[in-house]
């Protein structure tokens, strides 16, 4: 087949070896330490894996496209032998005895696992600012593009307070891909946690259909919405990674039984026969005018290419975020119940009674955000509230899913929406609002796809006036990833999103990779 990851073509042709590739990435992780994208770097095992891969290439028997490709995984996927912390005191030092199915699949296909990426504690957040290991910094903060436009040249000392957030909660994975420390990364997406940081970091972020990829080993936020997400620098790469991960897993009963056939995207995708829907409800309050303008320009691109572009309505969208919060916190309350300090993770010194040990363990182990969600979730699940909140939210969830079904049933193939309301904000500004307020704003355009279980992708589209990435989102029909990615690829080709120009001085990098003609390696 066609080698999608261009770097894998280089590997195959012997222009670079897996070991060298791995070493360079490891060096780059070190030099970009300021980003705080990684929680653990598994240098030793990564080099060992690269070594094995090198041998396979020398024998002329690589395992496939991913063989020797350095990847990173969000720190809420279980990895045997590498700490899995969820950026929480609760799991600091916890080493899972097993690999998540997606991690195992990557390893089985020869990928080199560099390390585990930073996130909001237990993936609860939209900034990657609320983890116990500190916030992730957006690589674009250190880009020439951002500095030229946003940082007053005279105040270079302001740099420290001008760095912008990555978005979240998979901010570490997005930053890792955006800063060339790895070629692909796994995130998780419950309400937008892959697409949101992808938009802010200028990378592709794919949230596949619920049930297409195994969640086994992903430490859950909301079981009924969580999907492993894929972050890459181009749509083709996302398709490759999707192909290597998708399919039934006997360890996850919610994965589809049907066999998944990996696909390749056409080189010159055609969108002329497609019908693109523009949901009017996504003109949400707070949507920045430049994103609105970009969105409408994108619609025009499709129109000009011969696609049918129509405004559509998803009338229940405005209730979505509230319902999302009820369902999310309820499942959080339930899922977090296992962290009692008995079997694994943090255990408080408090030993007056089992109950007091539980209480102290959970107080010490979880941050305010997690505890707050547990509290509200338990409130919604109380006998006297269950009907009023949980059941009602579930009913509205059905209505939201039906909205999508109706629109797709009317002949619309793909929906085009913004991914975020604005470009990334400086950290200093972001933390002025609490996590709950931020999540409500930041998930507003993304969580409906999770409520409906639909596949959605962020495609980096342009730079904002401040020199920061803006992405647009495509939402497709259930299990129609091929169509979704084909459209995304076409769009990607049209918009020619600029490559990040990282400041060499700061990063002492002589990396060949970023001098290639595109950021994507495809």
């Amino acid at each position: 087949g066609v080698w999608r990851f261009q770097v894998s073509a280089a590997l195959k042709e012997g222009r670079v070896g897996p070991r060298e590739l791995c070493q360079r990435c490891l060096a780059r992780i070190k030099s970009s330490g300021v980003l705080n994208a990684y929680i653990s770097v598994a240098e030793e095992t990564a080099l060992k894996q690269a070594e094995e891969s090198e041998k396979r290439y020398k024998r002329g028997q690589p395992l496939g496209v991913l063989d020797g490709i350095p990847v990173a995984v969000k720190d809420n996927f279980s990895t045997a032998g590498i700490e899995t912390t969820c950026a929480s005191n609760m799991l600091k030092g916890y080493i899972s005895p097993y690999n998540a199915t997606v991690v195992q699949k990557l390893l089985d296909q020869g990928a080199v696992l560099l390390g585990k990426t930073n996130l909001d504690e237990f993936a609860m957040g939209s900034g990657s600012t609320d983890g116990v290991f500190g916030p992730v910094r957006n690589p674009w903060s250190y880009s020439r593009q951002y500095k030229e436009k946003s940082v007053p040249k005279s105040h270079s000392e302001d740099e420290e307070c001008n760095w912008v957030i990555t978005g979240g909660s998979s901010g570490g994975s997005a930053a890792a891909v955006a800063s060339f420390t790895c070629f692909a990364a796994l995130g998780s997406d419950t309400g937008g946690s892959t697409r949101n940081p992808a938009a802010h970091c200028g990378v592709v972020g794919l949230k596949p259909t619920y049930g297409l990829i195994s969640r086994h080993g992903l430490i859950p936020l909301v079981n009924s919405m969580d999907v492993p997400g894929i972050l890459t620098r181009c749509v083709d790469d996302a398709a490759v990674v999707l192909g290597s991960l998708a399919g039934h897993d006997p360890k996850d009963s919610t994965t589809i039984q049907d066999n998944f056939k990996p696909f390749e995207l056409p080189d010159s995708p055609d969108v002329s026969k497609l019908s693109i829907g523009i949901p009017k409800e996504y003109q949400a309050p707070g949507l920045s005018s430049e994103i609105l303008a970009l969105w409408s320009k994108a619609a025009d691109l499709f129109k000009n290419a011969g696609a049918k572009v129509t405004e559509v309505s998803l009338p229940h969208t405005r209730y979505s975020i509230v319902c999302y919060h009820v369902l999310c916190t309820a499942e959080v309350a339930s899922n977090m119940a296992r962290f009692d300090g008995l079997e694994y993770g943090h255990r408080s010194e408090m030993n007056k009674s089992t109950e007091s040990m539980y209480a102290a363990t959970r107080r010490e182990g979880f941050n305010d955000v997690v505890r707050g969600r547990i509290l509200s979730g338990n409130y919604f699940l109380l006998k006297q509230n269950y009907e009023k909140y949980f059941i009602k939210a579930q009913k509205v969830r059905r209505l939201i899913a039906n909205d999508f079904l109706k629109v797709f049933g009317s002949g619309v193939d793909i929906l085009l929406t913004p991914t975020t309301l604005s470009d990334a904000v400086p950290h200093a500004e972001f933390i002025k609002e609490d996590n709950r307020t931020r999540s409500a704003q930041d998930d507003i355009l993304t969580q409906a796809a999770n409520m409906a279980g639909l596949p959605a992708i962020n495609v980096p589209t342009a730079l904002s006036e401040r020199g920061l990435p803006i992405g647009l989102q495509f939402i497709g029909r259930s299990f129609q990833e091929k169509q979704l990615l084909t459209v995304a690829k076409w769009f990607e080709k049209q918009v020619k999103f600029p490559m990040i120009q990282l400041e060499e001085v700061k990063w002492h990098s002589h990396d060949v990779f970023q001098h290639q003609k595109s950021a994507s390696f495809s």
Binding site: C86, Y98, I219, S253, T254, R338, E343, T354, Y358
Partner: protein, 509 residues
């Protein structure tokens, strides 16, 4: 509606001194059950009679190789924490995968209890914090269980001799699949709790019986019948002593025509005998409490088998709100029948109710009827045969190998063999007298080679298990019946000769 399926009416056994039947005044209390089927006149004291209502919640551990949602083995008394998968220990990221065998066991049980099987059932999470519940919730079927609306017929005798049997029916509200918890062992001296997760996640069937019973004896008979059914199906080993069958009893009392009283839940009952005792004690306690002007609290009580009484249990978390929620990691459980089974289905992937129905073994009630019909034995004897594990097979083997009529054989087996077994606390399978030996022995009796009395002596010898045949023992002990007239006369003459004086006295009168 009146009291269903139960006409038992209670009154106070006797007057007590001051004070209720608290733990201090625990002891054996006679409880009278006043006939079955009809209200009883107001008692001597002028008080209205009481009617007791008993419902049961029974947890039966499913007999399966692996647990309900994980691949760990199921085994009784394995070394602590040796049968624990990542899922059982609730490691983050693990997910439940439903064990098909457990589903089939529940369907079998549902069918055997005349339930309607729900073609779509759901799983829910029931939350509470406890050391032996690692996930902080139990996966159960709260909203839509796998089987509903069944019934169980059971018989019990109305007198001590078992000659008067009545058949009663208790409605089965539902059967739900759920996870067992682990075990906590509290070490009070070192003030620590040790947790064994071997049992955590083992499949349970919770059988909920409607409050259609009215005394301990009925509850015990119903549970015994359920136990036999489970054992016949193989869906549970149902050994109470090993915790494979756990019974909680809901008990209340009221006056006929009045609404049901406040109920208590009695737990910690670990044998059928104790079930009868616990229920009867609780009924009597409630009656006395009410007659003394007290009230019944809606509480959980534990049966103390040593003291023979129930005592209030300390609640785990005060008033519990289990915060039920749908289990998001398990899709609805869909079952098929011949009609709904889609074409081209992988039979490994689906459970077909009809297929299971066709393969149900004979249930105890059918087995009993067959025994009565085939061998002409009394119905109550068929109960005894089924009640003792292996006794029916023993009986049938003996019948096959002997000329003696089954009606006579049953007497030997139920009266003689069984009492020997009970005396030595042995099960039928442990009996030193095999069915072959028993048949040999009965053949000797049947051929009039030995008397019944001698046969009992031979049986006692056989019990020693020295490997002798009945005939050898007969010979050795000279127990043959003497068939020869002349020989008999000689023996008599010898006896008379040896007792000359007595003979003379007798002759003289």
């Amino acid at each position: 509606a009146g009291v269903r399926g139960c006409g038992g009416v209670w009154r106070r056994a006797w007057q007590h001194g001051a004070g209720g039947p608290g733990p201090s005044s625990c002891g054996q209390r006679a409880v009278t059950s006043n006939g079955r089927g009809g209200a009883v006149p107001v008692g001597k004291s002028g008080l209205a009679p009481w009617v007791a209502v008993v419902g049961l919640e029974i947890h039966a551990q499913i007999s399966s190789n692996s647990k309900l949602f994980s691949g760990s083995q199921v085994q009784f008394a394995a070394p602590p924490n040796s049968l624990v998968s990542f899922f059982d220990a609730s490691l983050p990221g693990t997910l439940p995968v439903l064990n098909r065998r457990c589903v089939e066991a529940a369907v079998m049980t549902g069918l055997a209890l005349n339930c309607s099987i729900n073609k779509k059932s759901l799983f829910d999470r029931k939350h509470y914090f406890y050391a032996d519940l690692p996930a902080g919730y139990q996966i159960t079927q709260q909203r839509v269980p796998i089987a509903v609306n069944g019934n169980l017929s059971y018989s019990l005798c109305t007198d001590n001799k078992m000659s008067q049997m009545v058949t009663k029916t208790v409605r089965i509200k539902q059967i739900q699949l759920e996870q067992d918890s682990g075990k906590s062992l509290h070490d009070d001296t070192r003030s620590q709790t040790l947790v064994d997760l071997n049992r955590a996640g083992v499949g349970l069937m919770e059988v909920v019986m409607e409050p259609d019973m009215c005394c301990g004896e009925e509850a015990a008979a119903a549970v015994r019948e359920l136990q036999l059914i489970l054992q016949t199906l193989g869906s549970s080993q149902a050994v109470m002593a090993e915790g494979q069958l756990r019974v909680d009893a809901n008990v209340s009392v009221h006056h006929p025509g009045e609404p049901y009283g406040v109920r208590t839940e009695v737990k910690n009952i670990n044998s059928i005998r104790f079930l009868a005792k616990a229920v009867d004690y609780e009924i009597q306690r409630q009656i006395e409490e009410l007659e003394n002007g007290g009230t019944i609290l809606n509480e959980t009580r534990a049966f103390d088998s040593k003291l023979g009484c129930t005592v209030p249990m300390r609640d785990k978390e005060g008033k519990q709100d289990y915060r039920f929620m749908p289990e998001p990691n398990l899709p609805p459980l869909i079952l098929y029948d011949a009609k709904s089974l889609p074409a081209n289905t992988n039979h490994q992937q689906v459970v077909n109710i009809d297929w299971i129905h066709e393969r149900l073994p004979d249930l105890p009630s059918v087995k009993r009827a067959k025994l009565v019909e085939q061998y002409g034995i009394l119905p109550e004897h068929s109960f005894t045969l089924l009640n003792e594990d292996g006794l029916t097979e023993f009986f049938e083997n003996v019948v096959k190998q002997t000329q003696m009529k089954p009606k006579k054989v049953i007497g030997w087996i139920l009266n003689i063999l069984l009492s020997h077994l009970k005396q030595h606390s042995l099960t039928v399978k442990e009996s030193p007298v095999t069915s072959v030996l028993m048949a040999d022995l009965l053949n000797l009796v049947e051929k009039k080679e030995i008397s019944s009395t001698a046969a009992k002596q031979v049986l006692a010898e056989l019990w020693k298990g020295e490997g002798k045949t009945p005939l050898e023992i007969v010979k050795e002990k000279k127990l043959e019946l003497i068939q020869d007239q002349k020989e008999l006369e000689e023996i008599c003459q010898a006896v008379i000769d040896g007792q000359e004086n007595e003979v003379i006295m007798m002759v003289l009168g």
